[in-house]
């Protein structure tokens, strides 16, 4: 299964605004995507609750996984999002 491992770029970690941006993007992906912390079990990336409970902090490595048509592209896009400091982006 295609995977991407990436360190969380948002300084506040993956919650609040960065989590909302990520969950929304994951919900729009053409295939179901999971996210896991090192050694943890994968949780659905399109679930706000699961992402919050994941508690990924700045610099934590997480692994995204997905299968099917468009998985590679979706993973690339989501990995890039995670690596960005989403809290630093101006609010749109």
């Amino acid at each position: 299964m295609p995977t991407r491992t990436v360190a969380i770029g948002s300084t506040v970690g993956l919650h609040a605004r960065p989590a909302a941006i990520f969950v929304k993007a994951a919900g729009e992906a053409p295939v179901p995507v999971t996210i896991a912390k090192a050694g943890g079990s994968p949780v659905p990336a399109n679930s706000m609750i699961a992402i919050m409970a994941l508690g990924a902090k700045h610099g934590d490595e997480v692994t995204l996984a997905a299968e099917g048509d468009g998985a590679e592209g979706a993973l690339d896009e989501l990995a890039t999002l995670l690596a960005t400091d989403l809290d630093a982006e101006p609010a749109s």
């Binding site: 609040a16 609750i49 699961a50």
Partner: protein, 554 residues
């Protein structure tokens, strides 16, 4: 007339009849399973999310952001699938929603802090969906026909954000905290609010109450005179404090620094915007308590940098990790103790696990050099000069130049002359100091009178610590609750305390109190307090002799 207390989160005086916020509908016992459960559950969550989004579109920030985030919870596939799975295995639809919501709420509660407070958002989503599948009225604020004080177990963000400012005079909740959404939104809307009022459930519909959002007090059935008096005092207070700004000084110009207590990045941002001279107590526990493994030096440095950033050119006093058996760390649990308050906590835990302390000191040092903040570091739970010396050496080896100790143990206060010779500064934690001086557990509500910071014996111990620091030419601050009490602040200044650290909302009042008295007058008030026989007499003596302009607004 009775007065009950909570945490004041939005200042102001409000008086009116109680309107209780509707309790949520519970799923019926033995609810029958439904063949169309999946569809009904989806429809209910959809409707909840759409309603929240519609409200978000009408509201301004930060209400809109909070409402959109709550709508995202209502659209969460984990939550919806969880409810559907429960229905599929035989639960009725409302029972299934309730079970799934509770499961995730428990997870949030277990994570603590920020997440625990988000659990209220989740419950609101669940309660609305339950009401919809049952065809019951939605929980929450009933239609308001007159000015009132809203009383609730907790107000969901959706409710607070859309309150009618013209009808809602004030808010009282049983749950909540300083950073709950209710608190943030009430302050933004300038609605007086008191949260964490244990007795809120006893306030009946229609009862007349007055709330003091500054003092965090709720007066039940007050007389007209009491209300008028509080209103007048509130107005005088606003007028008196309007001209108060800048550093803390006595009338004759002796410096008493006014500092903020903070416990995280959000606190730091808020305090950074406030008119304070820096931070007198930065509690670092949040970095550790929710972590499963010890945070690395880099992880910590990044967090500390964010805390220091708002204080360029100002002081930030950091307290190193203060954990113990009552707030154990997943990665440094020394096991249960019979008596955690007297056990291996604070610096004593650091002595068992110096690797944790060294990592924290290194991270603080890295973060300090990356920002313009003047970073000071101190250890909690120091008992004697040897412990002070041990900590000071370690902190200096890690490149931190201003090293101090918390004075919470009476032994350290009594021997402050020796303890303070080892370090650059001290800071009295008056809550723990009172607990240890009076041998009264802080967790025992029944013992609160013994824990009164006005206990003359506690003042004697504070005086010892202040004198020991002065003999060494070292600054001694206070970072306990008593620093935010304007009358007590005068006494502390009179004892030779050089800095007071408190919740930022208390600063203006303390600044005003100091500005009305010379140092000699403060010293006299301190003498009066220490000469008293009981805590009540100590406070009364100071109140009777302080400047009338201060007494008029207390």
């Amino acid at each position: 007339m009775t007065v009950v207390h909570g945490i004041g989160v939005s200042a102001g005086i409000a008086f009116g009849p109680v309107v209780r916020v509707g309790a949520a509908v519970r799923p019926p016992d033995d609810e029958a399973p439904a063949a169309d459960a999946e569809e009904r559950i989806r429809t209910a969550f959809d409707a909840v999310a759409d309603d929240l989004d519609a409200r978000a579109a009408r509201a301004g920030d930060p209400a809109a952001a909070i409402l959109s985030a709550t709508a995202m919870l209502a659209r969460d596939p984990s939550l919806i699938d969880g409810a559907i799975a429960r229905a599929a295995s035989g639960a009725g639809p409302a029972t299934a929603i309730d079970g799934a919501t509770r499961e995730f709420m428990d997870q949030f509660a277990a994570l603590g802090g920020y997440f625990a407070e988000r659990a209220a958002d989740l419950r609101d989503v669940g309660d609305r969906a339950i009401a919809l599948v049952l065809g019951a009225p939605l929980p929450g604020v009933p239609p308001l026909t007159q000015e009132c004080i809203l009383v609730a177990h907790d107000l969901a963000p959706a409710e607070t954000a859309t309150l009618d400012r013209a009808q809602v005079l004030g808010i009282v909740t049983e749950a909540g905290g300083r950073t709950s959404h209710t608190a943030i939104l009430a302050a933004q809307m300038a609605i007086p609010a008191v949260v964490k009022v244990a007795e809120a459930a006893d306030l009946a519909d229609g009862a007349m109450v007055m709330i003091d959002g500054e003092a965090g007090a709720v007066h039940l059935d007050p007389t007209t005179d009491t209300v008028d008096e509080h209103r007048a005092r509130g107005e005088r207070r606003v007028a008196a404090l309007a001209g108060s700004s800048g550093p803390g000084r006595t009338l004759d110009g002796k410096q008493v620094r006014l500092l903020a207590n903070i416990g995280g990045i959000e606190d730091a941002k808020a305090a950074g915007d406030a008119d304070v001279e820096g931070v007198g107590l930065f509690r670092t526990e949040f970095v550790f308590l929710s972590a499963a493994t010890a945070p690395t030096v880099d992880e910590q440095a990044e967090i500390y940098r964010q805390v220091f950033a708002p204080f360029e050119g100002r002081r930030v006093v950091v307290r190193t990790l203060d954990a113990g058996a009552d707030k154990p760390l997943a990665f440094a649990d020394l096991g249960a103790e019979e008596n955690p308050a007297l056990g291996r906590r604070g610096l004593r835990l650091s002595a068992e696990r110096p690797d944790l302390l060294d990592a924290q000191l290194e991270a603080l040092s890295i973060a300090a050099s990356g920002t313009g903040a003047d970073v000071w570091v101190m250890a909690p739970m120091v008992a004697d000069a040897q412990e002070a010396a041990w900590f000071a050496r370690r902190a200096r080896e890690n490149g931190l130049s201003k090293v101090g100790v918390m004075i919470e143990v009476p032994a350290a206060a009594l021997r402050a002359e020796h303890v303070m010779a080892e370090v650059d500064f001290g800071s009295l934690g008056t809550n723990d100091l009172a607990q240890y001086t009076m041998a009264a557990d802080r967790m025992q509500g029944e013992l609160s009178e013994l824990l009164d910071p006005w206990q003359p014996a506690v003042l004697d111990v504070v005086a010892h610590a202040a004198t020991g620091a002065m003999r060494n030419g070292r600054p001694m601050g206070v970072c306990g609750e008593s620093a935010g009490d304007p009358l007590m602040a005068l006494v502390l200044a009179g004892l030779g305390i050089t800095g007071l650290s408190m919740a930022p909302s208390r600063v203006a009042m303390v600044r005003f109190a100091l500005s009305l008295h010379t140092f000699a007058e403060c010293a006299r008030l301190a003498h009066l307090a220490r000469s008293a026989r009981t805590p009540a007499e100590a406070r009364e003596a100071v109140l009777a002799e302080c400047a009338p302009q201060l007494a008029a607004i207390l």
